[in-house]
């Protein structure tokens, strides 16, 4: 265990490289952090071969931040820890052996960059900057981020993210394994939903399958598609057309049209036309707090609302039961969320 000044401005190196046990690591770190000298510093954390998960690293980060300090970079020999470090947006650094000799040289070195990064993009940008600026100095902060440079480039133009970032690149930026999607998924599929009204509510139009020529049915996982987030009410005559999923916070009034390559989710009353999976994706779904679409279209299947349900308007209530429409056995079926009283 070691504690000394680092090349980073206002920085401190904490060496915990000989600790192999997580609880001991946290104990040691907290005792060091209580030291008044370490408060409000940029901490360079040197870890050994200990494997840390993202969640564990997060608590360490929180511990350091609770003392008004921040992590400048983390030096580790473990691949798993390194991955966690990257996913949290912290810099992977190397504590140079001869840094003690060059303490003074870093005075104006990296003062512009606040080392507390929030996004991966910013981090790598600043990183390259610091390494350029400190080029002629003996101390080097080595940027060893695992991200391929290509994904960083695409992320810089954030407006075009959906057009240019491929699925692989996106999943690298947001590692999906850190979100427990499977737990929610299984809940929704088994006990959370029960079939209701699928016969009476929507009737397939006799148009047959109306996929345009050249478009074939497919079952691309809609999780892999980007999502358009709209916080507004869609009024009659307004259309939203998007290649990925569409999420609308608000109502979609009759006369509006939502066309998505993937899923459509309306957090409100869906009263217009909704077309999910326009490129033939038969796994696409349409969900709404109140599913009252005049027409539901999924991939090439079109269904109209039963005439008996044609009411001039839907009364708003806080008693809505969310519904989900999907294709089952060549039909559009509605599932209602089960109420547990």
């Amino acid at each position: 265990m070691l504690m000394e000044k680092s090349e980073v401005e206002n920085g401190f190196i904490i060496d915990l490289s000989n600790i192999q046990n997580t609880s001991q690591l946290v104990f040691e770190l907290s005792s060091i952090m209580e030291h008044p000298e370490v408060k409000g510093k940029n901490i360079c954390l040197k870890l050994g071969s200990i494997d840390l998960k993202q969640s564990q690293l997060l608590s360490i980060k929180a511990l350091i931040e609770s003392m008004d300090s921040s992590i400048a970079y983390i030096d580790t020999q473990s691949e798993q820890t390194e991955a966690s470090v990257v996913s949290l947006g912290i810099i992977v650094g190397k504590v140079s052996d001869d840094m003690k000799a060059d303490l003074s040289s870093s005075e104006n070195g990296a003062d512009e960059s606040s080392y507390q990064q929030e996004a991966v993009i910013e981090k790598t940008e600043n990183d390259s900057m610091t390494s350029e600026e400190t080029e002629d100095k003996t101390v080097e902060v080595v940027a060893e981020t695992e991200l391929p440079s290509s994904s960083v480039e695409t992320l810089e133009g954030i407006e075009d993210i959906y057009d240019e970032v491929s699925t692989e690149e996106l999943s690298e930026v947001i590692p999906t394994e850190n979100f427990e999607t499977t737990a929610f998924g299984s809940l929704a599929a088994s006990e959370g939903l029960l079939p209701a009204e699928e016969v009476s509510k929507y009737i397939l139009l006799d148009t047959g399958n109306v996929l345009p020529e050249g478009v074939e049915e497919n079952s691309v996982n809609t999780n892999s598609l980007p999502t358009l987030y709209l916080n507004q009410t869609l009024r009659s005559g307004q259309t939203v057309n998007y290649e990925g999923n569409i999420l609308i916070i608000g109502d979609a009034h009759p006369g509006s049209e939502i066309v998505a390559g993937g899923d459509i989710t309306v957090w409100g009353i869906l009263g217009g036309i909704a077309h999910a999976g326009k490129n033939g994706n038969i796994t696409s779904k349409v969900r709404a707090l109140k599913l009252n679409a005049i027409q539901l279209r999924i991939a090439g299947l079109y269904a109209r609302r039963n005439d008996t349900l044609n009411v001039p308007y839907v009364q708003k209530s806080d008693e809505f039961t969310p519904e989900e429409a999907l294709i089952e056995d060549g039909k559009i079926v509605i599932y209602k969320k089960l109420r547990r009283d």
Binding site: T207, Q238, P254, E257, Q295, R304, D307, N310
Partner: protein
């Protein structure tokens, strides 16, 4: 077979063009004629709603014009009467999506195998009006007994008279309230006809049943008891060339109304 193309127009909005189109169309179809209704109110379509066909529309007139579907595919059959078909307007586009020539072409094709093509015209005298009128040879001008509506109807009649293709322009007086006429608060039918100087094709009384029928998506002509429904059936018959006397709107129809009427007369005597 060459059918008749009739445009239903008014100039002013809210006088009942769409209600009239839906009801005359339904009445003609009920008499066994093949009818196509065209909604040309692009971006503000309503005709589908009045017929209760909104949920069946897949293709619209714009899809036909932009060749995304065949004209036949875009025709939506009525729920009750297969003789009646609707060519819906696009809700997500505006009047500039079509032009007069394209609409004329559609009317010309449709009149080949239908007895009647009724064109529901949008309010106003701009592009939408010019489009709707393009394929028609007859016109029905809808107005209400109000000065503003009559002024606009007069303007429309003037415009229609400049179109060579339109051979007949007739007047339909909507939302007439006999009791207001009686008390001299509303212009009488004769007054309106006197101002506009075109032949009358129908007088439709104000009927609260219209509101419920619109909300239900069920034209009022299907209601045998409604006075407005009867009036619209008479209009259809006059279009077919029959001589039908205009309804005597003074006489209340229902039993309760007759009773009330009798009582009020009694009171007057007392």
């Amino acid at each position: 077979m060459t059918g008749r193309v009739i445009v239903i127009t008014s100039g002013k909005g809210g006088v009942g063009k769409t209600t009239t189109s839906a009801n005359i169309g339904t009445a003609l179809a009920k008499s066994g004629y093949k009818v196509v209704l065209i909604d040309t109110d692009l971006g503000l379509r309503n005709l589908d709603l009045l017929l209760g066909l909104e949920n069946r529309i897949v293709y619209t007139i714009v899809d036909v014009i932009e060749e995304r579907c065949k004209l036949k595919q875009a025709l939506v059959k009525d729920k009750k009467n297969p003789n009646l078909q609707l060519l819906a307007a696009a809700q997500t586009r505006d009047k500039t999506a079509v032009n007069a020539e394209q609409l004329k072409e559609i009317c010309d094709i449709l009149k080949e195998d239908n007895d009647f093509v009724l064109v529901d015209c949008p309010a106003g005298i701009e592009q939408g009006f010019q489009n709707a009128v393009a394929g028609a040879s007859e016109a029905i001008v809808v107005t209400t007994p109000e000065m503003s509506a009559i002024r606009d109807a007069d303007r429309i009649i003037g415009l229609l008279n400049t179109k060579e293709e339109i051979t007949s322009v007739k007047l339909l007086l909507n939302r007439v309230r006999p009791n207001l006429i009686k008390s001299n608060e509303m212009m009488s039918v004769d007054d309106v006809v006197g101002i506009l100087e075109i032949p009358l094709v129908g007088i439709i009384p104000e009927d609260t049943g219209i509101i419920t029928s619109t909300n239900k998506g069920e034209p009022i002509v299907n209601d045998e008891n409604a006075l407005a429904g009867k009036a619209y059936r008479n209009v259809a018959e006059r279009i077919l060339g029959e001589e039908v006397p205009f309804l005597d709107l003074d006489e209340p129809k229902g039993f309760m109304a007759k009773l009330r009427n009798a009582i009020s007369k009694l009171k007057v005597k007392v």
